[in-house]
Amino acid sequence: MATVQPTPTSFWNDTGKTGITSWIFSTDHKRIGLLYFYSTFGFFLVGVLLGLLLRIELMAPGRTIMGPATYNATFTVHGVVMIFLFIIPGMPGAFGNLVMPIQIGARDVAFPRLNLFSWWLYAIGAVIVLTSLFTGGGPPDTGWTFYVPFSARTGTNVSLAVLGVFVIGFSSILTGINFVTTIHRLRAEGMTWGRLPLFVWSIYATAWVQVLATPILGITLVLIMAERILGAGLFDPGRGGDPVMYQHLFWIYSHPAVYIMILPAMGVISDVIPVFARKPIFGYKMIAFSSLAIAAAGSLVWGHHMYTSGMSDTAILVFSFLTFVVAIPSAIKVFNWVSTLYKGSISLEAPMLFALSFILLFSIGGLTGLILGAAATDIHVHDTHFVVGHFHYVMFGGAGFAFFSAMHYWLPKFYGRKYAEKPAVIAWAFMFTGFNILYFSMMVLGLKGMPRRYYDYLPEFAPLNLVSTIGSWILAVGLIIMLVNLFRGLFWGEPVGSNPWGGATLEWSIPTPPPTENFDQEPVVTHGPYDFTKAGVP
């Protein structure tokens, strides 16, 4: 096997520090990106393990491996870990940091020290969340939504978990501020708004949502602590409070948070598809503006989580209408990705396979979202396994598969080595098959009336639950193959050149692995991000 030595100026070598301190105190956006990658992906694996345990419990009716209290804690920690420790910080923190500054022709982000501080806040918040599992009354059992009145009364360690999420929220806000400033102020000469890669556009839209919506989560979590510690009565009707107001406050953040999770994923897909279809993206401007439209309209639809909460009919009407409005920019993106494929010279390598899966799985997730967005149908399937299946199609089939696509697409650039293609395709096939068996069964179960968040169920739901659990094992096998192949490849695989995929964005124009400050000279951009002819790639 040929060996590849990083160039002397590679970001792997060129630091004044050694060992762990060269990472945890580095202000280089690439090192911070990798810190985010390993920490968020580590939590993803923890979340997967908890999810597998949940599926084993549900494999047969009655108690299988855990009782109801443990089941409640397990699904809560699964949700908290996946949402707050993986999906929300994962894509912006890892790939936003790794790729975005290079794509705009910058040497680093606008505030490198703030960037490092953001990661530290994330790490401290994560430690606090983990501490909550083993202290006080034990792991929280409220679900990741921390709904009152239960979250105000339960004896489990909700206060500490909420504090951890509160700290992580600040990390998200600071990353958002940093990225907005970077994209406004540090673009290279010629990198006009019309030449920004669509991944950058999506990170930009995401950053605004992070800055504007996350403070509301912080305030809401503080109010939970005020309820628990001071007995404030803010959400207690007996004392003039309003429990539905908690749901408003929580979802004002947490629905836009869905877009923090999915917008960067859409950016990845918008970058991967033109490269592997060897065609400029179809409808660049519409995709760019649809990211902003999703960010704006998506911030006004939180009420669709609350149709059965006792909210007024007027509010249901308004939120239902706005939910359908969000479908328009989402559909624009799907239409443009598919149109890009039309008459393209499609190369079905691993990043593309994950990207194509994204389009299908996200579309299923989005269309089932419309069933939930319409009050008339939502009332029948609210809090059933249909909802669980739906959001896993969007979050895992969407954001998760895009994350895997990004791992295969960009990590070779930063490691200088590449995974083996055939095992990657086999892993994808296992994951795609297992995913659909796992979550499609859940949606059918939900339509049949199986509620979510129950550790037991009626015997009539048993066959599909068994099928769903078998799907989780197939998915897990695919994940293991993917991880072994990917990381084996990154450390011992075949060396790659500066532009292994034939991309036209700026990260493919610099050496592999990138130098510490990315560019010897500030680049002058003369063509669009998907103009393969002008970029001189075949």
Partner: protein, 96 residues
Amino acid sequence: MTHETTAHHIVSYKKLVMVWLGLLSLTGLTVWVAHHNVGIGHVWGSLAIACIKSGLVIAFFMHMKYEGRLLRWFLLLALAIVAIFIGFTFFDVLYR
């Protein structure tokens, strides 16, 4: 790209103490309103006092009175978004 610079303004201790005393007085007024039956003024009066207090904090303690136009626009944007978020909850609260 343009670089907007603003003169660095130092707020005197005297002014800061005056603002602080003003905030304390307004807090006292809030408590008074809470303990007296002033009809519709109970809610609107409390909200008005809270708005004045936050205005004082933003203007002096957050230094916004002395900042450039860009930061003021961003503040306005943030306030508009908060207003929209709160406003939308009234589709629920007003029609229950």
